[in-house]
């Protein structure tokens, strides 16, 4: 969709929880990048996402203004389909199979074709351990499978150029792949997270403090080295987890090598 190409989100600072002006007075966000929103519990991460979702205009607790536009054309209304969301609380309520679910969604977006359905399923299956099949009932999916299907579906079938994610780290999926699947479909991904891997995966990070935007930092070259190391550790954990899950006993000594 063309609207994603020149899309821009501009956040103008409001006030922190003490009513003081936020340290960061303006923040601009563009597609094909990712932003991690970080900070301790209660620091205002979810509030920040909520301001974007609602296109705040000095009328939320933070007093921020959020403008979502593409070459001067405003997308202020939530109904405009600019924003897709993913959170831990979401579940499927529909009765039916995975295939019917994907078809219904594709039809509602005016996208058709078996190819799209199959590739969505394929992507979902790279994110979770147990494969999802087309004729599985939606309600039979495990937590991880559901999350994986939601992510693949947002990446491939939803048109929304902006994806807001609130804490998916405990979802039992390959979060590394999940984030890259979402950002590779040229979306702007904004993720509130406590997970070091996800934080370092993001191109930039917004540091929240006491309800206010404190600062924004670009990931440095040397941090990419740290990211590689954490990825390595993540793969290691993954490998051990898989062996344990499949009953390997005792774990071989090769497993001790990181």
């Amino acid at each position: 969709m063309t609207m994603s190409n020149n899309l821009k989100i501009t956040v103008s600072g409001g006030f922190n929880k003490n009513g003081e002006a936020e340290s960061l007075s303006e923040l601009e966000l563009h597609p094909e990048t990712s932003l991690a929103v970080i900070g301790p519990t209660g620091s205002g991460k979810s509030e920040f996402l909520s301001d974007i979702e609602q296109s705040a205009s000095k009328d939320t607790p933070s007093g921020r203004t959020v403008i979502i536009d593409s070459e001067g054309v405003d997308f202020a209304c939530e109904g405009s389909g600019v924003i897709a969301q993913l959170s831990q609380k979401m579940s499927f309520i529909m009765d039916g199979t995975v295939e019917r679910f994907l078809n219904l969604h594709a039809e509602s977006r005016n996208k058709g074709g078996n190819g799209l359905i199959l590739s969505t399923l394929e992507v979902a299956n790279t994110l979770c351990g147990e494969p999802i099949r087309l004729n599985d009932p939606l309600h039979g999916l495990s937590g991880g499978q559901s999350r994986a299907l939601m992510i693949a579906d947002i990446a491939l079938i939803s048109d929304a150029p902006v994806v807001l994610i609130d804490e998916i780290e405990n979802a039992g999926i390959n979060k590394l792949k999940a984030l890259s699947v979402l950002s590779s479909s040229s979306k702007l991904v904004i993720i509130a997270t406590h997970d070091p891997l996800l934080i370092l995966m993001a191109d930039r990070r917004l540091i929240m403090k006491n309800g206010g935007m404190e600062s924004v930092a670009e990931r440095t070259e040397s941090e990419k080295g740290i990211l590689e190391k954490i990825k390595e550790m993540d793969r290691y954990t993954e490998r051990v987890r898989e062996d344990l899950r499949f009953g390997v006993y005792p774990l071989s000594s090769a497993e001790a090598v990181l």
Partner: protein
């Protein structure tokens, strides 16, 4: 005075949505009054009063169809709102039986639907969805993005023109947009001579007036047989 009529199925979150939207008006220094119509007794007026500290009024229809009772009292409700010097008067109707759309031509109409009520709900709620200006979807934070989109699309098929917004009844997220739309609606100078957007179902048989016994001989008025 701005007026807004709010309709929706039982438990769809009408009162919660009203409270969140009206709070924004109160924060702007506006005076708000709220009326709740219901069939049996309701606590909603008390809940609104406690949370917002504004004048509230309750109308219990008892053995009459609550929507018929509502239309019959619109002028009185309008005057009550004027006498309170309200900037905004919000009228919450009883939970819809889906045959009705108790909205009024020229007056801001809001219909509330619950995203958990299934993908066919927008079609089943025909007039309530079709004859309204704003459709508020609640509980959408609990369903997948895809189901949100399909649900919204189905509403679009029934009513291509209404504004559709998601409001979280617990946190109030989204209620700002609703407030902005209500704010932009026309000031209403009078209620008399206005028209309902959609006629109400007939209410003309013996059961409408309290009959409870089953059998042909107890039936009178407009009675149609299934076979």
């Amino acid at each position: 005075m701005k007026i807004v009529t709010v309709a929706g199925t039982p438990s769809s979150g009408k009162t919660s949505v009203i409270i969140h939207a009206m709070r924004h008006f109160i924060e702007n220094g506006k005076s708000v009054s709220a009326v709740k119509f219901d069939a049996l007794d309701t606590m909603d007026d008390q809940i609104i009063k406690e949370k917002l500290n504004i004048p509230t009024l309750k109308g219990i229809s008892d053995y009459i169809c609550p929507d018929h009772f509502y239309v019959s009292n619109l002028e009185e409700v309008f005057l009550w709102g004027e006498n309170n010097n309200s900037d905004v008067l919000v009228i919450e109707t009883a939970g819809l039986c889906l045959r009705c759309a108790p909205h009024i031509t020229g007056i801001m109409a809001v219909t509330i639907v619950d995203n958990l009520s299934g993908l066919d709900a927008p079609k089943k709620m025909g007039p309530g969805i079709f004859h309204t200006d704003i459709i508020v979807i609640t509980k959408s934070d609990l369903v997948s993005q895809a189901e949100r989109e399909v649900f919204k699309q189905r509403i679009r098929e029934v009513n291509p023109d209404a504004e559709i917004i998601n409001v979280n009844g617990l946190t109030g997220k989204g209620s700002l947009l609703l407030k902005r739309f209500i704010e932009g609606s026309d000031d209403i100078e009078s209620m008399s001579e206005r028209e309902l957007r959609y006629s109400m179902p007939a209410s003309l048989c013996s059961y409408c007036t309290g009959e409870v016994r089953i059998g042909k001989k107890y039936q009178s008025g407009s009675v149609e047989k299934i076979v």
